[in-house]
């Protein structure tokens, strides 16, 4: 694997970052009009908007690196499930893993995922702000400000639910236990990451885990939650091998564009 600027590895690495933001943004957007309170409805929609904005910048960048004339729309709307490179965590339903497919969402699941994911993004964007790819570094520095704000929202709610009623504590504890195994993928360094890291473009994500755990600890403690033990489960979304949930998400996200090819706002 080469991993130098403009290589296939470089493009795929940027797609991983883009697809994480795009798919989670789409998931959070499902709460639009369905939030448990007006303020939360607006909060999740705002976070979704930030993530989709990050995804647009990253997809545009990946398209330029690729140089085949694919822009953000082609990459978002005309790729199939195996082409997507997001971590499985991002695509899991808002209703959780166990009750997958159930209508609506579980706010504990949504909050825990946002906490785990945005805390990961903070570590990642901090590191990538020094990337040898100047475009990626600029996107990272900008996204870092947004991710920090997202962490604060999720941490506030994690504490409120964890240190809340018996019911809210049970629900968020269950959500944390269910989602935790999917976080291993975020920190599983593979040959592609090693290749782009050698050229200073990307980072080996295994090195981010200690900082991530350290950032989560005070929130978990105040929420009276214990971080779950690590498991042997490894999800493989970033390799293009996804859960059964991504196809449904893409069907909804892509249908309009596919029915009206080339349509513009």
């Amino acid at each position: 694997m080469s991993g130098e600027h403009g290589s296939a590895e470089h493009i795929e690495y940027v797609l991983r970052l883009a697809d994480n933001a795009l798919v989670l943004g789409q998931r959070l957007a499902e709460w639009c009009g369905h939030g448990p309170a007006l303020e939360e409805d607006i909060a999740l929609t705002n976070i979704a908007l930030d993530l989709i904005g990050q995804a647009r910048l990253l997809l545009d960048h990946a398209g330029r690196l690729e140089g085949k004339g694919r822009g953000e729309d082609e990459l978002a709307f005309l790729r199939e499930v195996p082409d997507f490179r997001n971590a499985t965590l991002a695509e899991l339903p808002n209703s959780g893993v166990a009750s997958a497919g159930a209508a609506g969402g579980d706010y504990a699941v949504t909050i825990v995922r946002n906490l785990l994911f945005s805390a990961y993004q903070v570590e990642l964007w901090q590191a990538l702000a020094k990337s040898a790819d100047p475009e990626l570094a600029a996107i990272a520095a900008k996204s870092l400000k947004e991710a920090r704000y997202h962490v604060r929202h999720a941490a506030d709610w994690t504490i409120r639910l964890g240190d809340g009623t018996e019911e809210s504590h049970t629900r968020i504890e269950r959500a944390l236990a269910a989602l935790w195994p999917y976080t291993h993928e975020l920190f599983a360094t593979d040959p592609l990451e090693q290749a782009v890291a050698r050229h200073g473009i990307g980072v080996e994500s295994a090195g981010l885990r200690a900082g991530w755990l350290e950032a989560l600890a005070p929130t978990a403690a105040e929420a009276t939650l214990a971080l779950p033990p690590d498991t042997g489960f490894r999800s493989t979304g970033k390799l293009g091998r996804h859960s059964e949930h991504l196809g449904f998400l893409l069907a909804e996200m892509q249908s309009l564009h596919r029915q009206h090819p080339g349509a513009m706002w």
Partner: protein, 165 residues
């Protein structure tokens, strides 16, 4: 500054944020550079939030304003680095915001290593209506990506706060 450059800056001074129409793009500090060659002009702008839907409208409005100011060709280049900060908002822009009923952003503190919780944050936002410092945050997210929702505990009015980032 050449006459043409001054004309370009003047035209930009008439382009407002579609969501906060009291602020011009110059007040917001998103115009980073203007270059004029003959009757062609290049404007470098930086987006506020990654997903801000106003960015696209602003680009179109800039193009229209420059055409109206007599430039045959207007090119807009987006620059992401350095990332936009509310510290670039002008003093005049902050005054306009306050008069519009939006509390302007305070100076950006350097990012602490540890991220503080919303609840642990001191209010420190003055009411744009009555000037009281006795305010509280109702929600960390507001009607647009750049704002949070507050309430004054003296005059009892709710208001938006332009978040410092």
């Amino acid at each position: 500054m050449s006459g043409a450059a001054a004309r370009a800056w003047q035209a930009l001074g008439g382009v407002v944020d579609p969501e906060i129409p009291v602020l011009t793009v110059l007040d917001l500090g998103i115009v980073r550079d203007v270059g004029v060659v003959g009757d062609a002009v290049e404007v470098v702008i930086t987006p506020t939030y990654s997903g801000c839907p106003a960015t696209h409208v602003i680009e179109e409005d800039i193009r229209r304003a420059l055409a109206a100011a007599g430039f045959a060709e207007a090119r807009i280049r987006t620059s992401l680095s350095p990332a936009w900060t509310t510290d670039w908002m002008t003093a005049e822009g902050r005054d306009k915001l306050r008069k519009f009923g939006i509390a302007p952003p305070g100076a950006c503190a350097p990012s602490p290593a540890k991220i503080a919780l919303f609840r642990a944050e001191a209010a420190g936002v003055d009411c744009p209506h009555c000037g009281s410092t006795h305010t509280e945050r109702l929600a960390a997210f507001g009607s647009t990506a750049c704002k949070a929702l507050y309430r004054c505990r003296d005059c009892r009015e709710p208001f938006d706060h332009f978040k410092p980032i």
